[in-house]
């Protein structure tokens, strides 16, 4: 073995440890970068012919040919990635749903002194006051005010819920853009990773970026990721290809068939609907298409039944100034047909004397019809439930739903936190570790430099000190 080979080994060592210093500093620089995987220099001893030192040359008793440090790998556990992406989707789904339901819950503001339940109670009480004092105007005026407050409160709850549903719809709409942006970048990264790795290098940072985007995509909907032999990933959103190699399949926003103002997502290429089983998109769709409509329908049922049953009785009654009869004036108490438009009838608003409290014409002191209406409070008008029972079970069911999805979101969060901790335990940067690596590389570098000095001295001895 010649001296020049020793020099070559030393130079390789210098380069290798220089690289190790670079990698350690890259790791330190990215200690808190999201999605970053720490990188490792793969140091490999070489045999004289460039093969692995230990296969043949060791057996021959020959010395090695130094260190090879061409590969820099990232440390990452793809199985944890897989688990985390599933967990992320479940977490965002439940969080999205929880947020939507929490907002809906605020609309009702019960149990409290000024919730809808209290308004309902005041409404019935106002009827009792009319029973007590049917000929007086004070009780009638109070009933007018109480009814107006109740009706506008129901209307407001209805419009708030509808608006919340519209907001969810906007979010679904905006989701299309996010999916497309991620899909485009993934396709681009696929192309770049493939190009870089064809030449035998590792595209570590590109891969990190790709994995980060896949995490983000998994938060939107359930995805399926397969790494192909050409180092690209094939990504399915739901069951449909979203990215394949350098090709991405865009999604578009379309109006729902039945209700065009409600937006849905579909793939542009073949018109197949985007169908996900978890993620933010699933949460949004569930809240928009299941939870909110159910709530609005319940509120509507309550209002419609209130209108119907009060009106039915009110039609049989007579106002203070109604002298003719029978048949009486057959006057409605409420106008409107549901929660969206329930209101005190305009005639009664302008003239409370028209409130039909009496059971017959010309009976100002008779509050029998008003009493029948007041008694509706305790009657099972909605199936087996009274108005208040129906309302309180509606609020309680909503509350139970909120509490359930909140619990789900919290436990999903625990799971993703745990998995993230495990991922970070593998791929995350530890400063102490990198500083130790830095020092090790520094000493190794110094040692390699020392080798060169030694060889230099040897050459000096050989060339200058040996007498010719």
């Amino acid at each position: 073995m010649g001296i020049s080979i020793g020099l070559d080994i030393a130079v390789k060592a210098l380069r290798a440890h220089q690289l190790a210093v670079d990698v350690a500093s890259h790791n330190l620089a990215n200690a808190t970068s999201p999605g970053f995987s720490r990188q490792r220099v793969l140091l490999r001893p070489l045999g004289i012919d460039g093969s692995d030192h230990f296969t043949r040359d060791a057996l021959l008793g020959r010395t090695g040919f130094g260190v090879d440090a061409s590969d820099v790998n990232r440390v990452r556990d793809i199985f944890l990635d897989y688990q985390q992406r599933q967990a992320l989707g479940q977490r965002t789904q439940s969080e999205t749903q929880a947020q939507a339901l929490e907002k809906a819950e605020l609309v009702f503001n019960d149990p409290s002194d000024d919730g809808l339940a209290a308004m309902l109670a005041q409404f019935w009480n106002a009827w009792h006051d009319v029973v007590n004092d049917p000929e007086g105007s004070a009780a009638r005026t109070t009933l007018v005010h109480t009814t107006t407050t109740l009706a506008s409160r129901i209307q407001r709850a209805h419009s708030n819920l509808t608006k919340q549903r519209d907001d969810l719809n906007y979010q679904v709409d905006a989701m299309g853009l996010r999916i497309n942006a991620i899909a485009d970048e993934l396709a681009q990264l696929n192309f770049q990773v493939k190009q870089v790795e064809l030449s035998g290098e590792m595209a570590n940072d590109l891969r990190d970026r790709r994995d980060l985007l896949l995490d983000q995509l998994a938060e939107i909907g359930n995805i399926d990721v397969t790494e192909e032999s050409d180092h690209t990933v094939t990504v399915k959103l739901g069951n449909h290809d979203l990215v394949s190699g350098a090709q991405s399949y865009a999604v578009e926003v379309v109006g729902d068939g039945g209700t065009p103002e409600m937006k849905n997502l579909q793939f542009v290429s073949d018109g197949v609907a985007v169908d996900v089983s978890s993620g933010e998109l699933r949460g949004l769709l569930d809240a928009r298409d299941t939870d909110m409509p159910a709530l609005i329908a319940k509120l509507d049922t309550l209002a419609a039944k209130l209108i119907e049953s009060v009106n039915t009785l009110h039609k049989t009654g007579y106002g203070l100034d109604d002298l003719a009869g029978p048949p009486g004036p057959e006057r409605d108490f409420f106008s409107g047909t549901g929660a969206a438009d329930i209101a005190l009838h305009a005639d009664l608003l302008s003239d409370p004397n028209k409130i039909a409290a009496a059971g017959g014409a010309g009976k100002p002191g008779d509050g029998s019809v008003a009493l029948q209406i007041a008694e509706l409070q305790m009657q099972a008008t909605l199936g087996t439930q009274t108005f208040e029972e129906y309302y309180s079970s509606m609020v309680a069911v909503l509350g139970a739903d909120v509490s359930r999805v909140q619990g789900l979101a919290a436990s999903n969060q625990l799971l993703t936190n745990h998995l993230e901790a495990m991922r970070q335990s593998v791929q995350g940067v530890n400063i102490d570790e990198e500083v130790a690596n830095l020092h090790a590389a520094q000493y190794a570098y110094q040692a390699a430099a020392r080798v060169i000095t030694t060889i230099d001295e040897m050459l000096d001895t050989l060339i200058n000190r040996m007498a010719v």
């Binding site: 009792h128 029973v131 309180s392 509350g399 901790a421």
Partner: protein
Amino acid sequence: MRVSEQSRLTARLGYLQNVTERLDLLQRQLATEKKVHRASDDPAGTVLSLGHRRDIAFEEQMRRNLSSGVAFMNATEAALDGATDALQRVRELTIRAANGPLGPDNRGAIAAEVDQLIGQLAQLANTNFAGAYIFSGHQTRTPAYDVTGSPPTAITFVGDTGERIRQISKQDKVAVNVSGVAVFGNIFDELLTLRDNLNTGATGSVIAASISVLDTAIDRMIDVRAEIGARVNRFEAAQRLSEKSDTDLQMLRAEIEDADITETVLQLSAQDVAFQAALQAIGRTSNMTLLNFLR
């Protein structure tokens, strides 16, 4: 397990987040004195508590129905007392006129007083309480009796026998009024006849015939008075019952909705200690790396 900078950061933020969330909840409970702010805080409790709230509001209304009913019946009682007194006086005068050897002047004076008492009775029969003529049945916007002439020649009942029924408890509905017919019957006709007899110098036996009529009327009035008194008692009992159940309901509601202040304060200070401990632990370890020891 290997610890990285990222996982350390996430874990620290997680601890702090947990502790601040708990702190926040306790502070809110303390500030509002409630532990159930929304249905989701206690869904099952909410159903119960909304039920209690409804019953509290209902009982409050029942007490209002009861107390205004009692006021109405008190006015009725007062009118009945006055009417009974007036009839007693008429009876005394009638006895004097029937028995005593009286001259035309004295008879005239008695007739004048009877006339005045008739007016008084008519006024009582037309008592108006809080805008309602209480003896008119359902015709509460018009006086129960129509008085013709002055001095009156006819006093006619123009009301009806309608009952003012109100709810006084979940089960009971009760009328608070009595119709003028039930109270006064045909007494006005009888009194007008008596007055005319006095004025026209009818014999003692003719006048004495009015005494039994008056007795019947007075008896009827006392009966009605007793009936009203019984109803008032019933109302007052119902009111006490309602007040009692209000106390019970308020307690049940509070048990579900209200925060136990003492317990909350204790929990809050415990959480506060935990929070400070977490902060200190983080502060002590977070700026510690190998770099502090390597040169």
